[in-house]
Symmetry: C2
Subunit: 299 residues, 2 copies
């Protein structure tokens, strides 16, 4: 039972002649005639009959034509099904972020989305090696990722990148640290300090590398700590310095965060997603709210 043939039957029913139906379908009368003949083969009783020189439907044909209406309607709905899914506010939106971004933005984002009557959120934190961030888009609609601004960009082929924030990376040292005495900080001032770096391959490894390049020699990395709040606690002991993000680091009276005068070290915080993810209205809405939430304080 072919949909095209059913459509032809309906057209014949409504137009009253095979020629008119063919014209409406942009086909030759012969084509319609042949297809109706094929449809007839599957039916035990005649569906059409000649009335004068026109072709008309029998009662059985009319019964079939009426059933064909439902088929066409169901097909219409199927064609819209994907689009409706894209517009649907009921489907959850999965967001993931690296730890510090998650800590800073998940709470206000959940509030904002709820306040806006947005979709249900599925939040999860994932801190992975830089190369692994793009793969997270397979399981999450929006992936908040970061990388050193000086490093290699995200692979534009496979993921869409929406910039969220460009955040300065500051040198963090203890308030009691000798560096605290100098008014400004330069690369040369910190090049010989014991550093806290991140694990190999993790996003901000390149940031510290930029300092080393500017200093002209390798830095002494004595600790490898990915979590900024852990690193901050170690920095507070005064036994090492670290590069910490300006905005997303929790204020701590025991720490001093200062920029390097002669080197602009930054990290880029971006939202990665599959291109098709942005087709979903809900995902766009969450992304917009994420932008609002992540906007650096006006002050």
């Amino acid at each position: 039972m072919d949909v095209r043939q059913l459509r032809m039957l309906r057209e014949l029913a409504e137009r009253g002649s095979l020629s008119a139906a063919a014209a409406a379908l942009h086909l030759s009368p012969s084509a319609v005639s042949q297809q109706l003949a094929a449809l007839q083969r599957a039916a035990p009783v005649p569906l059409t009959e000649k009335r004068g020189r026109r072709l008309a439907l029998t009662a059985a044909g009319q019964a079939l034509a009426e059933a064909a209406v439902d088929v066409a309607a169901a097909l219409d709905r199927a064609e819209r099904a994907v689009q409706e899914h894209l517009e649907s506010p009921a489907a959850p939106v999965a967001v993931c972020a690296f730890h510090s971004a998650a800590r800073a933005w998940f709470p206000p984002l959940l509030e904002a989305v709820a306040a806006a009557g947005g979709p249900p959120l599925r939040c999860s934190d994932h801190d992975v090696a830089q190369d692994d961030f793009p793969r997270l888009v397979a399981d999450h609609d929006l992936v908040v990722a970061h990388r050193p601004s000086s490093g290699p960009p995200w692979p534009r082929r496979t993921v869409r990148v929406v910039p969220l924030l460009s955040e300065p990376m500051l040198v963090a040292h203890s308030a009691q640290h000798p560096l605290a005495r100098s008014r400004t900080l330069r690369v040369a001032d910190v090049a010989d300090q014991p550093w806290i770096g991140v694990h190999e391959g993790y996003p901000l490894a390149g940031a510290l590398q930029a300092v080393a390049v500017a200093a002209g020699r390798p830095l002494e990395v004595v600790h490898r700590i990915n979590e900024f709040f852990v690193a901050a606690a170690v920095v507070a002991t005064g036994r090492a310095v670290a590069l910490l993000p300006a905005h997303t680091t929790h204020p701590d009276p025991r720490l001093v965060l200062r920029p390097l005068e002669d080197l602009d070290v930054r990290r880029s915080i971006d939202v990665l997603c599959r291109p098709e993810a942005l087709h979903r209205r809900s995902v766009r809405q969450v992304l917009d709210l994420l932008h609002a939430v992540a906007a650096p304080p006006a002050a």
Copy 2:
């Protein structure tokens, strides 16, 4: 949006892998892959994605697959639509009969069909030239027709013929007629009477012709009257004789109806219909009841 492609998508959703879907559809995996690719072209977002080495549906694909269920259901209903129409007790059955049959059987048939909970009836009387009876099946499900038993049969090619009754044709003459004095009636007795015939081409013309043939000479047909009750009234005047059917003629004390001893003149009363008309349960039911109603009195 092709139904076959939607079916493949559903099968993929339910079987969990393209190969399994292909096997279920009795197709090669390649065919399914190509058709799904074609379906994908019509969608703005991916419908499938590789999960491990299997192919799985995305959320959008699942939305479409669900819509495809309705399409399949509607198609199923369409395929049954014709059959259901054939079984439907609601569709009216159109019956037509020549006048005397209509007068005799329409009332009891209506009663019988109503008593049996049968379909609504559309009765109409049509007395037409013999050649025109077969054409009536275009507008009526059942056509009660008659013809001289000795004449040409109905065209079996175009219509189905269901015998209803074989009815003797009797010579009708006035009770006061000289013929009333003879104990039996033979062809020779009536060959010289003034006859009432039917109009040219009408079904029972051939019956009178049979008498003429037996007599070996043309009969003198002084009146041409199709309606038996009109003919009966004229016969009652004693001025002419006629051939009238044995059972469907209304009893009249002024008339005598007697068979010819040496010639069996009969008419066949048949039901004509299109072959497909008998596919309808309702039509068969009415036909059965018509048989019961038309059964000659047991006496």
